[in-house]
């Protein structure tokens, strides 16, 4: 059962996170909390997305999700980042009915299994929501 959830890719990102740690300079920062479990994340972005840095405490899903976010969005043109962001959110909110596109989501497709666990969807989305807020504060709209 939880094999679907804890895919190798997710455990890899969890154990070896990409781009972790808060860095300067940045143009926008946001701090988000999952009220149920107390997990937290802080995300910083530059206004051209040339860097996305983050730090926080959380479960494997939220930590791996932050690492994947960093990998997928860092350095991307804003329009493309917005599309990837939307695809990821759609995948998470699809209750397991959405077929992920590897072209767009890369390692993110490993999260398809998470969508079947409503209680964990919030974990996976935590960094993405914080990123969106941080980007907005940097003047970057990631809504397509």
């Amino acid at each position: 059962m939880t094999d679907q959830l804890y895919q190798e890719i997710i455990l890899d990102h969890y154990k070896h996170p990409h781009g972790r740690g808060l860095r300067d300079p940045y143009s926008g920062e946001a701090h988000h909390v999952n009220p149920t479990c107390g997990d937290e994340i802080t995300v910083r972005v530059t206004d051209d997305l040339s860097d996305i840095s983050y730090d926080g405490m959380g479960c494997s899903i939220s930590q791996a999700s932050a690492s994947v976010l960093h990998e997928l969005l860092k350095g991307k043109p804003i329009g493309e980042a917005a599309k990837i962001h939307e695809a990821f959110v759609e995948l998470m909110q699809g209750r397991g009915q959405v077929e992920p596109d590897e072209e767009v989501l890369g390692d993110g497709i490993a999260f398809a299994g998470v969508a079947r666990y409503p209680a964990r969807v919030k974990c996976a989305l935590l960094p993405w929501m914080a990123f969106k807020d941080a980007a907005a504060r940097a003047g970057v709209e990631v809504t397509v």
């Binding site: 009220p35 149920t36 107390g38």
Partner: protein
């Protein structure tokens, strides 16, 4: 279901086959509380026997199932009243809590010089919270009167609702006179002066098709046990943007974002207003009740009740010494008919009727100002729902004749 079939509906309500004092139960007290169909009872039982867990707090399977069931119920209720989003639906323990929530939360920014407007037609649950608010804050409580026909007296509207008015809270359908208040002019005037309007829909949501967007109020309150649901659950609906600005009322688990010893921040609505373990099974039961009502159709139910009300008004008008309060025809009124039997105290009317299996409510119906307005200390009230029949109104009429005989 194509045509409304009251005989089939009755089969869903086990209690209706009960006898009272040797007579078949004739339950004419649904405005007080309604009975529950097996469909609602079964859903709750299944919830407890298969899925029971606390919500929003556990990642385990039972917790996820419970949370889904609870949030599905919220979505069903939202659809039932035409809310734009489930997030506009807050579960409370009853209408009374919903109104008190508003009085504390919206009321937190009310102060001396401000005015709150209610009416003489209100249930105590829509009077006392505002009296308490005015005591706490120094605001002034003002009232719409009632006309002799049992309607809201709007003659002083322009003055009564003015730039000092902050909140207007009115009953949508009176639980004692049966009047369905056309509140469109009042809402328009309130919005003109920037006041918020709360409608007490405890009696309307169970009996009429109702759409909150069409209605135009800012908030409404209603209660599960009067609409085939269990006790222990009520609803506050409010416009999303208003709800987002409202400060919390009860504090506790599940309504927080982060708690530290120094400072707490609050979750977004509806969670912000649902402190502690909510009435989970009760919400699930209310969801099932809403499914049941929708399957039959609120329009069909309303039409059935209009028929019963017309029949009751005619039947009661034909009994010597009986006086009906409120509108005399089914136009603009619901299936709640209060009356007086000349020379007999309502307590005695109710007692003799009960002896014959006919269950009506007697007393001031938690609306003492209405009784005072009509110069009585209490009234006898028959109220109808989807499971009632004209034959039951005949039983009521026969009972009233018996009352007159005993007290002649």
């Amino acid at each position: 279901m194509t045509a409304f079939d009251v005989a089939r509906v009755r089969e869903d309500f086990p209690i209706l086959s009960r006898e009272i004092n040797g007579h078949p139960l004739v339950y004419l007290d649904s405005a007080n509380t309604s009975h529950k169909p097996v469909q609602v009872l079964d859903v709750m039982r299944t919830y407890w026997e298969r899925h029971n867990a606390n919500v929003s707090r556990s990642v385990h399977t039972l917790g996820t199932e419970s949370t889904t069931a609870y949030e599905d119920a919220r979505a069903k209720v939202a659809t039932f009243i035409g809310a734009r989003s489930p997030d506009e639906v807050v579960f409370t323990k009853n209408s009374t809590e919903a109104i008190n929530l508003v009085a504390h939360s919206l009321g937190a920014s009310v102060g001396p010089g401000d005015e709150v407007v209610i009416s003489e037609m209100e249930h105590h649950s829509n009077i006392v919270p505002w009296q308490l608010l005015c005591e706490r804050t120094g605001a002034t409580l003002r009232w719409f009167g009632i006309t002799d026909d049992g309607l809201l007296d709007e003659s002083g509207l322009a003055e009564l609702i003015n730039e000092r008015t902050r909140i207007v809270s009115l009953v949508h359908m009176s639980n004692i006179l049966g009047t369905i208040n056309d509140v469109s002019r009042i809402i328009a005037r309130a919005h003109e002066v920037g006041a918020q309007v709360l409608l007490d829909c405890s009696q309307s949501v169970p009996h009429l098709p109702l759409d909150v967007v069409e209605l135009g109020a800012d908030l409404i309150a209603f209660t599960g046990h009067k609409m085939l649901g269990p006790t222990g659950i009520g609803v506050l609906w409010a416009r999303a943007d208003l709800l987002r600005e409202m400060p919390p009322f009860l504090g506790g688990g599940s309504m927080i974002e982060t708690v530290t010893m120094e400072r707490t921040t609050y979750a977004a609505p509806p969670a912000r207003f649902e402190a502690g373990t909510p009435p989970i099974a009760e919400a699930v039961g209310l969801g099932a009740a809403v499914d049941y009502l929708s399957a039959i159709g609120m329009r069909e139910i309303h039409e059935h009740e209009i028929e019963l009300t017309g029949y009751a008004l005619k039947t009661l008008a034909g009994i010597d010494g009986v006086r009906v309060y409120g509108p005399g025809t089914p136009d603009g009124r619901g299936g709640t008919v209060s009356f007086d039997v000349a020379g007999v105290h309502p307590h005695d009317v109710g007692q003799i009727l009960d002896d014959l299996g006919v269950e009506v409510r007697v007393g001031h119906h938690c609306a003492r100002p209405v009784c005072a307005r009509f110069g009585v200390s209490s009234m006898t009230r028959a109220s109808f729902y989807l499971y009632n029949t004209t034959a039951e109104i005949d039983a009521l009429a026969a009972g009233v004749e018996q009352v007159k005989k005993v007290f002649s």
